[in-house]
Amino acid sequence: MSTITSSSTTTGRERLGLRLALAGGALLLVSGLLSWSFEPIFGDISIRLWPVSLQVFAMLIGLTAVALALSPTVLRRALGWVHAGPGLWALGIGATAYTALSLAAIAVEAGGLINANEGAWIALVGALLLLGGGWMVRDRPRAPEAFSAQGPATVEIVTIVAICALALAAAAYALGRDDAWVFVLFLLTLGVIGTALARAEVFEWLGGAAGRHQHVLTLGAFAAAFLFPFTQDGSEINMSIATLVLIFAATAIGLNIVVGLAGLLDLGYIAFLGAGAYVGAIFSGSVSSSIGWTPPFLVTALMGGLFAALLGLIVGSPTLRVSGDYLAIVTLAFGEIFRLAMFNLDGNNGPDLTNGPNGITAIPNLSILGFDFGESHTIAGVELSRAANYYLFMLFITALIVLIFARLNNSRIGRGWVAIREDERAAEAMGVNVFGLKLLAFAGGAFLAGVAGTVKAHYDTSVTPDQYQFLESAFLLAAVVLGGMGTIAGVILGAVVLKLMPEKLRFFSEYRLLLFGLLLVIMMRFRPEGLVANKRRQLELHDDDQDRAAQTDRSPQTKEALQ
């Protein structure tokens, strides 16, 4: 290890810590090749030299640890800018939690800790070494090259594309897990590695890289999402989950325009999705619809969007008079009025329009330009099922919504919204048309939700008032808050987490709402800016935090980068 001398700032204690962490990472890597249990559980983790599930996750953590531990020395040329100390500390904590939970999983599934074999114990030793090493280096100062790091363009582009591909692989893998333990441990692994990389300030670099190659990132992400159905090989269940996630994410991005950009808290947003869905259902030609006319879908989608936008204008108009909390309550009241009205327009208590609590059922599949969404199609040898058809169509709509969001965000309108969000009176004094822009935010967000709603009606095949209750609005808001207000990547992440978890974890679904409520409280307490923070928003929410402000000044290129 002669290269250590090249790092002049490293103290002896830190050198020891790095070596411990390196040893821990290496042990984790090796443990993956050993047998973890005497029982063939979790895809058979009892065989040596054949890593599966838990073993692979341990190896992934080990690999991250080795890379971080070597970054100040051997890999200095490539990774010298990484802030290894806090990263290793976070990774140590996470790896210990991971191995402990793995042992618990083995104990539960195989009947007692006695069934854990040498690999699992070696992994625990490795994790503890990593923890100790991480503790020693946790205060290691930032490398001097930290903020000037800028790799060659090709490296950056390849990294971005690789990350998109990895995200695709991870999503496909996670969806394919049937075992709740493996699913939870996989999510934990992702969380641990993600946190460690965030602490190591890898995302700062990534943000910069993404900012410099935004088109590559966008195209890469959409290519990965586009290829997703082809990895599922006709699995209808997985594709239907993916489609639900996508509809939810598209709606959440629409809400993000209102909440994240313009800073107007909307608690009745689901009503706009519902308005679009009802328009889509009523003009679908369903037998339970009261109107027989069936225009082409593109016309229906436009009508759904415009109807929702009209409602948005109506809800938005009080913004001239009320703001802040009052506005939130107005939107909440509006959402309830919408649901109750749909409930009552059944022919008994009012004109027959929506078939009341039974809703409009048996909505036929979409058919655009002769392409029937209800049938399976075979493309390149892969069968694309009904859900996959809707998935791809929703992906197209999501792409449109993302495009609109990004363009608005970087326009005069978007800057006006930010100004209103930060200080309404100052914005007005500077000549920003406050009322017009607020109305635009409401109507625009509602339009996007309405369009998504028309597709949702056809996909769900039925529309009932209970699908559009207040709790759903709260869920959308939670996706925005959890992911990070004002960012696209964050909202998509939040939508995926909030929709995927209950679908994959049956035991979880009973406690879903309880944990969701708790999550909102904890997020607001400890990280109000969300998982993927918009830098500007972060400063608004922590405006007493000088340290953070200073930090952001040093890396101006990362500002709003991940958008």
Binding site: P318, S323, D325, V330, E336, N349, L514, G517, M524
Partner: protein
């Protein structure tokens, strides 16, 4: 005319409930400018606290002397939960803008509902019924039973109890706010927290007291609701809370007497709308929420005028 009088009585009954809950919104808002969205759940927890007291101590009893204990049990549960949420969730967020506390309040609201739904029948050592469906509320002599016929008007006994509670609570509240040191401290903090602090008022304590007072009144409303409706469920707080908030806004949020007036007005308007507007009772909530929106748009300071006209 008979029908009008009957609806007036019904409206005053439901309005008294709204008024009791609305005081909690308005007291907290007047002092920390926070819409305590979880206040409806505090009301629900009051009802469950009374039910639990009954099931543990007085199973099978129907005499009137049980009632004060039920009210005390309800208050203990409501005040406990309200003070706990203030301490754990709201206090750390003080001065963190307005979005974060409101989202926290929504989170607490969902959490409390689900907590009661999932765990009410799982309390160790006690044999409580599951809260996943409606639970019958204990019936007490004198305050429940055959309705009172007063000429052409029929009055439920529980309705008399509800209106009586509002009158007593109103009087107690007046005495508390105007005649006690703590009450005057609350007035001072709601007028100007910084100056109040300089005058030696413990602002943190005043805020806790505000939460506790609101919760105590909501607990009484919870008992009254149980007696009126003869059953309770974990969802009863959501709509009731929203209506009570409407009442608080209608009267002028931040103004205690406004909240009481607003509650009564809302209750009466709602029952009259059911009687005289087309559509009938399915549209009741629609009228109430439409009224909320209209008030917020055209007279955001409410009937009696709020101390704070929101410009945040």
């Amino acid at each position: 005319m008979d029908q009008f009088l009957q609806q007036l009585v019904n409206g005053l009954t439901i309005g008294s409930l709204y008024a009791l809950i609305a005081v909690g919104y308005t007291v907290v808002y007047g002092i920390v400018q926070l819409i305590n969205f979880a206040h409806g759940e505090i009301f629900m927890i009051g009802a469950f606290g009374a039910l639990s007291t009954y099931l543990i101590l007085f199973q099978g009893q129907t005499s009137l002397w049980v009632l004060p204990f039920l009210v005390l049990g309800a208050m203990a549960a409501s005040v406990g939960v309200a003070v706990l949420t203030e301490r754990v969730a709201y206090r750390p967020l003080r001065g963190a803008g307005r979005l974060a506390p409101l989202i926290t309040a929504i989170g607490i609201s969902v959490f409390l509902q689900e907590f009661v739904r999932l765990f009410y029948d799982k309390v160790p050592g006690l044999d409580f019924p599951s809260a996943k469906q409606k639970i019958p509320f204990p019936q007490i002599e004198v305050v429940t039973g055959p309705a009172i016929e007063l000429g052409p008007v029929t009055i439920q006994r529980a309705a008399v109890f509800t209106i009586g509670c509002l009158i007593m609570c109103g009087a107690a509240l007046w005495w508390f706010i105007n005649r006690t040191r703590t009450g005057r401290g609350m007035q001072a903090v709601s007028q100007d927290p910084d100056t109040a602090k300089l005058m030696g008022i413990n602002v943190d304590r005043v805020i806790v007291v505000a939460f506790a007072v609101g919760a105590a009144l909501a607990a009484i409303a919870g008992v009254a609701q149980g007696l009126l409706n003869t059953n309770i469920n974990f969802k009863m707080g959501f709509i009731a809370g929203l209506k009570a908030f409407t009442a608080a806004v209608l009267g002028g949020i931040g103004n205690v007497w406004g909240a009481i007036l607003g509650g009564l007005v809302l209750g009466v308007l709602e029952t009259l709308a059911v009687q005289f507007l087309p559509g009938g009772s399915p549209w009741k909530d629609v009228w109430a929420f439409a009224l909320l929106i209209l008030v917020l748009v055209f007279r955001p300071q409410g009937l009696l005028g709020a101390k704070v006209v929101d410009r945040a």
